[in-house]
Each structure stands twice: as structure tokens, then as C-alpha cells.
Subunit: 306 residues, 3 copies
């Protein structure tokens, strides 16, 4: 691959902001980090991870990525911060910047929370979007793409099914758009209530049993029971696996080379049979592992020009 010249990027809030070759370049950088286990060093840089929503994977993965690159990490607990006195996110970031923070990773429940930050002429630290409400989750998208690319070396004509809570997933929307422009063929499955006709632009809806034996990648989405009203769910935890999930029988029908992905946390026994979470075609643990390297590539992109 030709070495791609990266433009100077200040913030990383959405994967849509990048060209195909830039995405591939980040993925290849992440894979290099993973294989060579040598990383750029940013020992004079300071990061704060502001997670206003619960997270283990994304939060700790960013922290690990930062630490592996020598970045100093300041802890931030929303419940013990001045946010509790009514301080805005903007003023919180302004404060962190003033005390010398270079990089602020934010997960926040408000969709597009970052717009006010990246549009301000007073904010010059780098913002990474760690998830904005039902909006974007670009570092998750990047690690998903990295996991597929690591497996197949290309996205051209790959058949990818995305299954589950499509309308509420911040990852699904990113992934369907980027995967399509990278050349993959997208299929959707899962409860029809969670499929939206606007997705037709990217792929076609089908049942899991029609898709399971032909796709190269089965991307499962988490059923976000915590985001649903009880009355919204027209299927119980018990029936989801049988109707839409990866049972032993369905896993058995998959192509030998096909892989299963899930952003986790997995609802074991709902999206996928408990004992299949760590099966040989599952890349669920690999995704978590790759997340650290994908995030290092993102951080490097932002810090290399600072």
C-alpha cells in the first residue's frame, strides 16, 4: 500500500469525516501497532477521559491506549466534578484545557454534544468522541473495521450482515455507511420493529435464516434493554435468541471462514448462545483487543501534529 499523507486533524468525532484511504491508513497503523508492539511515545501529553455514561470497554481501552503511548491520564468522575453544580460540558472542557490537558475523550448522552466544542474558537485541545447518545461511536466503528480488515485484507464484495437493534445503535449507522463505501455488501436482520426503511440506501433486510449460511461477517448488536421502555419490546429475552440470535444450529450453518462480531457487552443467551461467545469463529474478544490499537491510531493521528 502507498503511504498516505495524513492531513492535520484536530478532533475525532465521526468516522464519516474521513476519506476511504484515511480510514484504511488508520486501520493499517493499528494493525502495525498490534503486530510490532512498538508505539509512538507522547510522554509530555495529558489526557482526560470524561465518561458521563457507564462504560468498561471503551473507557478502559482508551486509558490503556493512552498509557501504552506514555500519555499521562487524569481521572475524571462526573459525579464528583463541578458538572454537579451545573457547569456545562463546554466550561468543563475549557477548564481541562486551561490546566494543560491536550486530549479529552468524551462519552455523553447528548447526540452531537461535540458540535459546540469543535466549533468554538476557544477550544484548541483535541476532542475524541467516545459515543454521543444514539449518535456516533467512531472508535468502535474503527475497531470493527480493523477486525474485518485484519481477517480478510479488504472490504471489496464482503458480505456483511448487521443484526439487531439497528435504530438505537450508534455503531450500526456508522458501520453501514462506511462499510458500503469501502465496497462491502450489507444485509440487515433482526426484529423488523428495529429496521428503518432509510437503511435501504445501504443494504437489504432479510431474516437471519436466509443470511446465516452466506455471509462472511455476522455483526450482532447488543439489545439495549436499558434504553428501551418495556412496552417497546415486542419480544422477550427468552424468544430473542430463537428468533434472531446465533444458536448452535445457526453457527453450524455458517461458512467455514465466516466470523461473528459483537461490540459487547454481550447479553449472553440473547444475541448469541452463551457458549458461543468464545467459540473459534467469534471475534468478540479480538474486537476488545483491537480496540486498544485502533484507539492508539486515533490518538496518534491527533497528537502527531500538536
Amino acid at each position: 500500500m502507498t503511504k498516505v499523507q495524513t492531513r492535520s486533524v484536530r478532533h475525532f468525532v465521526s468516522l464519516e469525516q474521513f476519506e476511504n484511504h484515511e480510514i484504511i491508513s488508520m486501520i493499517e497503523k493499528a494493525i502495525t501497532y498490534k503486530n510490532q508492539r512498538t508505539f509512538p511515545s507522547y510522554a509530555d501529553k495529558y489526557a482526560v477521559n470524561c465518561f458521563f455514561e457507564q462504560s468498561t470497554r471503551t473507557h478502559k481501552s482508551f486509558e490503556m491506549a493512552e498509557r501504552r503511548m506514555g500519555v499521562q491520564v487524569l481521572d475524571f468522575q462526573p459525579s464528583m466534578s463541578s458538572v454537579q453544580k451545573g457547569e456545562s460540558l463546554y466550561d468543563t472542557v475549557l477548564t481541562l484545557q486551561a490546566i494543560g490537558v491536550d486530549l479529552v475523550v468524551i462519552r455523553h448522552g447528548e447526540e452531537g454534544y461535540y458540535n459546540k466544542l469543535i466549533e468554538s474558537r476557544h477550544i484548541h485541545c483535541s476532542i475524541i468522541n467516545g459515543g454521543d447518545g444514539a449518535g456516533q461511536h467512531p472508535s468502535q466503528s474503527l475497531l470493527d473495521l480493523m477486525t474485518i480488515y485484519e481477517e480478510y485484507g479488504s472490504f471489496e464484495n464482503l458480505e456483511v450482515a448487521i443484526s439487531g437493534d439497528l435504530t438505537h445503535s450508534r455503531v450500526a449507522k456508522s458501520n453501514m455507511q462506511i462499510l458500503k463505501r469501502l465496497g462491502a455488501k450489507i444485509f440487515f436482520t433482526g426484529p423488523q420493529e428495529w429496521y428503518d426503511p432509510s437503511f435501504e440506501e445501504y443494504g437489504t433486510y432479510s431474516t437471519i435464516d436466509k443470511l446465516i449460511d452466506k455471509v462472511d461477517v455476522m455483526m450482532l448488536l447488543r439489545v439495549q434493554y436499558e434504553r428501551h421502555e418495556d412496552t417497546d419490546i415486542r419480544f422477550s429475552k427468552q424468544t430473542y435468541l430463537q428468533k434472531y440470535g446465533i444458536t448452535f444450529e445457526r453457527e453450524n450453518r455458517m461458512k467455514p471462514s465466516a466470523i461473528i462480531m459483537h461490540p459487547a457487552p454481550v447479553n449472553r443467551g440473547i444475541e448469541i448462545e452463551d457458549q458461543l461467545v468464545e467459540c473459534s469463529r467469534s471475534r468478540i474478544v479480538t474486537q476488545m483487543e483491537n480496540g486498544v490499537y485502533a484507539r492508539m491510531a486515533i490518538i496518534d493521528l491527533l497528537l502527531e501534529h500538536r
Copy 2:
């Protein structure tokens, strides 16, 4: 300036404990850190920041100061500590000291909480007061003084107005005492309900419109709505700005060289017009920036003789 010999200081709980020349010496040290960007290194020292009240600025500023000097920082979450089992602050500090902590920064709601600690012959780690209830907030005072000194090079005959919630502010009381003995002329303004006749010792009360065009420094205080009963407030959020705050019109009448200060978090649109928070005469962001260097000077004072 003549090099001032510092005496050995174990704790930093109040700015009143220091002579004028000692305060100036700390300020000058902080300014040197800021300008030269080289700091003493205390890589074998350990600090814990125990914030029992919410804070972003002070907490993260101390953490940044510690990290920039190579001090190792242990995280402390009151809600996950044995304080929840009824362990006293004294026993918490005794524990931290026993495991090898050199420096404990504490913010606590109880005024004078530190007396039991600094009077004990068993406590030999250094205590820094990060704010005690309605009592002191000496590191905030020091950064305020540093910001004024950085601007004017002296306190002699400077005209400083302190505006707002004077009776509830832990900073106001410190600042009025120290500023007066450093040679400044103090004025008070804001709601008369929040002015106490005992302040006459330090300065005179006036309306903001009589002061705005003559003062060199306008120090605004945060309206601490979280500390007031609703019935205590005889003015609404809507009228405070017009009656007591920095409007565009008032900012316009200030002397060209005059500066605006606020310890933050600012109630935008209450103490000051939203768009003036980052105006050219505002030193609000500078104060946050200076806080790191002022706290480094404090830490250096305590650690240099340990």
C-alpha cells in the same frame, strides 16, 4: 527581588499563616514555573487528593501540578472508601500516611477540618487545604494573587473590587485580608444582604456602578445557588446580572487596563454576560491556567524539606 529564605513548612492550610514576603516568594516561584516551564521533580513522592466535595478545577489542577512535578497520584473516591463505614478523616489520613503517602490534598465541607490533623503528633505527612466548608481556600487565593501580580507587578495602591456572595465565599475572606496587607485598596459590591459590617476593616461597600470605571481589578464571586435556601435569595437569576453583574455596558466603562476575575465555575449570564467570560480583559481562563503553577509552588514548599 532578594532571594527569600523559606522556613520549613509542613502543612498549607491557610494563606494567613504566611508573611507578605513569603506570599510574594511563592507567587514569583509560580510565575517562574509558568514562564520557564521547568519544574522540580519529586518522582519518589506520593500524593492523594481527597475531595469530599465536588470539584473540577481545584481537584484536576492539583493533580496536574503533582503530575507535572513527577509526583505519583493515587486516586481517592470518598464514596468507595471506608469513610462510608464511618471511618473518620483523621483515621483516613493516618491510613494513607501509613501506606507511604507524603502529601494529602483535602477538600471537605467542615470548616477547620484540618485542625485535628495538623495538631496531631501522629500525622507527619503534609496536608494541603483544598477548601474547608465556608472557611479557607488558600490555593485559590494564591492563584488569584498570582494573576493580579502577573498583571501589575505589585499590589501597592491597586484598586480591587470584590463583588457578590461575600459572606458565603471561602475565597473572599482570605483575599480581602491578604490583599489589604499587601497594599491594595479594597471595595465591596453586590447585594447588601451578602455584605457584612465586619468587612469594613478591609474596605468599603459601594454599588457596582460607582466602582466599575475606577477599579483595576473586578473580582467576581460565584453565586452559590447550591449553598442557599431558595428563600434566602431576594433576587432572581434574571435580575442579578442587571443589578450586580458585568453587563456589556459596564464592561465598556472599565479602565482600558482593568481586568475581570472570577474563581469559576461561572454562572454565565448571572455574574457576567455569557459572551464576556472569554473577553480580552477577562482573566478567568488565565486564573485556571495559573492555578496549576500556584499549586506547584505550594507543593514545592512542602516537599522541598521532606
Copy 3:
């Protein structure tokens, strides 16, 4: 002492898993760390301390031990983790391992929580049990043993009384078993409601006034008011000290060489007279100090073969 060859140990969940000579070897290693103040360096290792129950001493002591050995420590807040979305402890550990964590210290309310972890063929990071419900607290046991051994150089024929909440204490059960097999003579005292006949295997029950003048070690246990229903307590806070605790009078009757221990947090004035907590025969602060070195010995044992 002959240099004992340590076997490769992956997890540290119970002190019972170790032979006498292995325990002595860990204690001697901890004492060497304390005296020589040089420690092994594990700068390329990563630890996470997952405390699902409140703790100051154990949590911060592990963190200090890790930091003194150069281990990088990632912060973990259960309340801000995906545990809140229903993620299991197993999946949390699987995630931490996937992102590159070598060592996970866990305190959790469920007795034996670690069994599922150490029996899984997918978990290969090291687990240290920082306390499991009413089960074990092996690092506390080790530091208790270290404190006795540091004092007396041996356990043979030492007379040790364990006093207090024997049935609810995770430390008492470990200590009575290990102390007995190391050669000590065990006595029990405290409220009879908290004595269980099954303890007869290890020692005999008596009143404190019959034991106080003959024992070498008086190990007090915390009255865990937070774990008791009010109705379960047939004695008030006021009478506990007089009936079962260390009063001035009892302390005075102890042998000159005898020591007082308590795992802390102490209920001052209940298990022991307030002013005796830091008396000359109290090793309560020493225990906290020793905890760091005992935990370093544990961590070294697990990391040296990784």
C-alpha cells in the same frame, strides 16, 4: 533460612492454597522489601483494582504496592462501568484481560466469586482476591502474619487471642487456620453469640479477662455494624468496650512484650479505647504499613513467572 523454590502461581485467592514454607517465604520477602526498600520492577505490567465494596486500606495499599513496583494502574469505578448494564464479573475480567491487563485485584461481596474466574480456561490474567464477602481476605491474613513474624521471628508456641466478630470476619477464619498450622496456640474471646463451636478445632474460647495477661498477641476484630441487623446485636456500642474490648485497665495487665493488632478501620472506643489505638504496644499502624510490603510479595509471586 533455606531459600525456598517457589512454584509458578497464577492466582492468589486464598492463603490456604500455600504450604507453610511458602507462607514464610512470602513473609520474609515482604520484610526484606520493607527493610531494604528496593523492589522488583514491573514497568511493562498493567493492573486494575476492582473494588465492588468500600475500602480505603486494602484498595490504596494494593495501589501503592503496584505503583512502587512500577506497575501501571488503571482506575476502575464499578458505578461507572458496564457492570451497571448487567455485565458479569467474568465478562468484566475477560474485557480487562483483552485490553492487556495482567493483574486484576478484586473485592466483591459474593463469597467465592473467584471460582468461576480461576476455573475458566479463557482467563489467563492473574486474579488477586482482595476480599470475598464473608469468605477470605488472604492479603490481610498475610500482613497480619507478617506483623507477628516481624515481632517474634517465629509462630511456634506463640499465644494468640482472636477477639470479636469471629463468625462474620473474613480474616478470622483464615488466621485461625494458618496460625495453628504454623505452630501458634489460638484462643478466642468476645461475645459468645459470635463464637461458633466449629472453631474448637483451632483453639479454645475464654473471656478476655482470663486471656489478657497471658497472650503474646491480641488480635481484635472490627465490629461490623454495617453487616449486622440491629436486632442481631445483643450488646450496645457503649457496653462492648467494657465487656469485650481493650480498656486502659486491660492494656495495663498485658505482658510487657505483648502486642495489640486490629485490621482496621477501628471503631474507636468500642473494640479498643480511643487513646490506645496508637499506644506503644499497638501494631495497628504497623499493620497498615506492612500491608503494602505483603502485597508487593504477593504481586511479585504472580508476576515473576509471567
